[in-house]
Symmetry: C2
Subunit: 107 residues, 2 copies
């Protein structure tokens, strides 16, 4: 899976994927294949500090608190977001490496 070392911007699909690899990748991709989750990631990624409080994520997407909490959990479990408890609040940041995994696959 790692015979593709041409640095940057080259397609990672140079060999047929095994079903196991395809399953793992599909799981990662499913996490970002939802409009609300894409919005959440983009909001966090584009924030000045690179981190956003969960309390500031409900309004922008216009959904209920439990629903946003659910999406944040899905993204965190996929390794795309990282969660840090800070007092009463939960702060989320983006794991760039995890996104790069996707970029390199399709780059």
């Amino acid at each position: 899976m790692a015979d593709q070392l041409t640095a940057c911007c080259s397609n990672g699909l140079t060999t047929p994927l095994s079903r196991e690899d395809a399953d793992a990748l599909a799981q990662l991709l499913k996490a970002v294949s939802d409009p609300v989750r894409l919005q959440l990631v983009s909001i966090i990624a584009s924030s000045p500090n690179g981190e956003v409080c969960a309390c500031d994520l409900t309004a922008p997407v216009g959904l209920s608190q439990p629903t946003v909490s659910h999406h944040l959990k899905v993204l965190t479990q996929a390794g795309i977001l990282e969660r840090e408890q800070r007092g009463t609040w939960a702060w989320f940041s983006v794991n760039g490496d995890r996104l790069s995994t996707i970029a390199q696959l399709f780059g």
Copy 2:
């Protein structure tokens, strides 16, 4: 959406996505968020000629012909595959630009 011109390997999520953009991107991502479809794309992308007959895609994924046909349709409608009828056979190739769209978003 295009104020990000740092050539290669830079994250495209520099600004919050609108719901419309997020919807469009999610639709594209959903197309590749399935293990079977990932396998199909990887098989076609890694083939010598860059194109594969549909008749050669059923066996590798181990599913029925209608199911494979359905997956190919989903990928084609998402613009990820291109279809060319050649006699009785249908040949599929990968649209690299469409995959690059994903790569640039997460790169």
